[in-house]
């Protein structure tokens, strides 16, 4: 009787483990499907022309996504220029002032900013930049993406710098190095790998964003290098072409999806493994 009960318990244990394993591995099935389809349909389309030409009008075959690639890069450059210095400075402040009313408030605000839906940020950038300038622009898109990058950069900067031992700062201060030089020349370099990781991860986050660009960067069938005119981007292209009724455009969308996914995955990979090499140990 005792033995049966024990065997029953073992059975339940086994069943549970099996169920949990099955559910776990099933969770990644969608990933497998997505990567499979994107690769299968995307590879067929990608060639040198694809990457360097502009989209052709409907009905003509061929064409490429060069304007979207350039546009994505433009948006990322604008976003980084704004978000990186601001985010790192705020991160330094938070790491240097662990307690205090302002620090508490700033941390709360950063958390809330992180959770704002990207479409709402698109509305904000529209109101702040598109409306006054009376035009859609790469600049407004960059601002929207910068707002999305900021919380990630601030948070990782703070986490990284908090890990740096206080004694390093003291060694520098004891040599008569002023506070600002101590931070810029001793503390920040010591935390460089973590800071770079944060920046790369924030880029990966916004590279694939579409919603904030819908009414800021807006999209552009042509190549545009002017910051103050609308610009295309990879996610926008995928969105517009996927929803269109033209099969050639669907093909472009698969190719663009593959390029985008590869780009984002490479960024994530780089953030993880490359910066481990640079990590400073104490």
């Amino acid at each position: 009787m005792q033995r049966d009960k024990f065997l029953f318990r073992l059975l339940k244990d086994r069943l549970f483990k099996t169920a949990v394993s099955i559910f776990s591995f099933c969770s990644i099935l969608p990933l497998v499907f997505i990567l499979f389809y994107i690769t299968k349909n995307g590879i067929a389309v990608i060639n040198w022309q694809f990457l360097t030409q502009l989209p052709k009008p409907v009905g003509e075959s061929g064409g490429g996504i060069s304007n979207a690639i350039v546009g994505t890069l433009m948006l990322l450059v604008v976003a980084c220029t704004l978000a990186v210095p601001l985010g790192i400075s705020a991160g330094i402040y938070l790491a240097e002032h662990k307690t205090g009313k302002l620090s508490y408030l700033v941390r709360l605000c950063v958390e809330i900013l992180h959770g704002i839906p990207s479409i709402v940020i698109g509305i904000i950038a529209y109101v702040w930049i598109v409306k006054p300038l009376r035009t859609f622009s790469a600049f407004s898109g960059g601002i929207a993406l910068a707002i999305m990058m900021l919380p990630v950069i601030v948070r990782t900067a703070e986490e990284t710098l908090k890990l740096i031992p206080e004694t390093l700062k003291e060694a520098s201060l004891a040599l008569g190095v002023p506070y600002y030089k101590t931070i810029l020349k001793v503390v920040v370099p010591a935390g460089l790998s973590g800071l770079v990781t944060g920046i790369i991860l924030s880029i990966a986050r916004v590279a694939g964003e579409t919603a904030p660009l819908l009414f800021t960067a807006f999209g552009n069938p042509f190549m545009n290098l002017n910051l103050f005119k609308p610009v295309n981007s990879l996610p926008l292209l995928v969105f517009n072409y996927a929803a269109s009724p033209y099969p050639e455009w669907h093909g472009l969308a698969w190719g663009a999806s593959l390029v985008l996914v590869v780009f984002v995955l490479l960024l994530n990979f780089f953030a993880k493994f490359m910066t481990k090499k640079w990590k400073v140990r104490f």
Binding site: P165, T167, L168, E170, A171, S172, L173, A174, L175, G176, V177, P178, K181, T182, K185, V186, P189, A190, L192, V280, R281, F282
Partner: protein
């Protein structure tokens, strides 16, 4: 008697309303090693951090009284200039991890933007590393980062870094408490050698270390300077009962 390198007059230190140091008055003699000893929390580290004005970096930290370095009031000068005249070595070795050994030694010059030509820098690096008894061990690896060095070697690198600034006085805050006995012995030998050319203040909770290395000893207890005098005298015929109790291990 020649003028003391460091002189404190009724010096007090506070954390907010909490008084840590009570009317410390002492004189530190040139080219001698003065030990500050006392049980944990007695204020010896705070005193030493007041000398190079690191104490005031903590919010709500205040001081009163006078502290004179070579006759100049330390608290009247710019704290950054004060710190450049005073060298400090900390409990845990803290070489700068992003710099190689060469740059670590001259970090004080580099970080402060003080320009010296390469030949001059080479000279300072060699001289400081020799004084710190580290030159022979690292002279072929000057451009490698210091992470391969042992704890004791890293601490000697920190000593070299402080010496490179040619300070008027060196503050060593329990420099061997994080090291193994062999490295501790090396550093003690180094201090005995160094003190002939550099004025040293050594903070230690190790009575034997104070006895071995110092010429003068200050016994600090609960923020007060209980007794101060030549080491031999203080250890053999202590004047204050508390000193005697501390030396015989009754507390601390």
């Amino acid at each position: 008697m020649e003028s003391p390198v460091l002189k404190t007059e009724n010096f007090c230190a506070f954390f907010g309303a909490n008084q840590i140091l009570k009317n410390i008055s002492l004189e530190v003699t040139r080219n001698k090693l003065t030990a500050m000893m006392g049980p944990s929390g007695c204020g010896k580290t705070t005193l030493v951090r007041c000398i190079n004005r690191m104490h005031e970096l903590i919010p709500n930290a205040t001081v009163s009284g006078r502290m004179l370095l070579q006759g100049e009031d330390i608290y009247a000068m710019n704290p950054i200039l004060a710190r450049r005249k005073i060298g400090m070595v900390f409990q845990r070795p803290n070489p700068f991890p992003t710099m190689n050994i060469y740059d670590n030694v001259i970090a004080g010059y580099k970080l402060n933007g003080i320009r010296i030509d390469k030949a001059g820098l080479d000279g300072i690096v060699e001289e400081s590393l020799r004084k710190a008894a580290l030159w022979n061990e690292v002279k072929d690896n000057l451009y490698k980062k210091g992470t391969f060095l042992s704890g004791g070697q890293q601490q000697r690198l920190c000593i070299a870094r402080a010496l490179a600034m040619k300070p008027e006085i060196m503050l060593l805050d329990e420099p061997t408490s994080a090291l193994d006995p062999k490295s501790t012995a090396h550093i003690e030998e180094l201090m005995i050698e160094l003190k002939q050319t550099v004025t040293i203040i050594l903070v230690t909770h190790n009575i034997a270390q104070a006895a071995r290395t110092s010429d003068f000893t200050a016994f600090i207890y609960l923020g007060e300077l209980v007794e101060f005098g030549p080491t031999k005298k203080l250890f053999t015929v202590p004047q204050d009962k508390r000193t005697e109790e501390y030396l015989t291990g009754k507390f601390g």
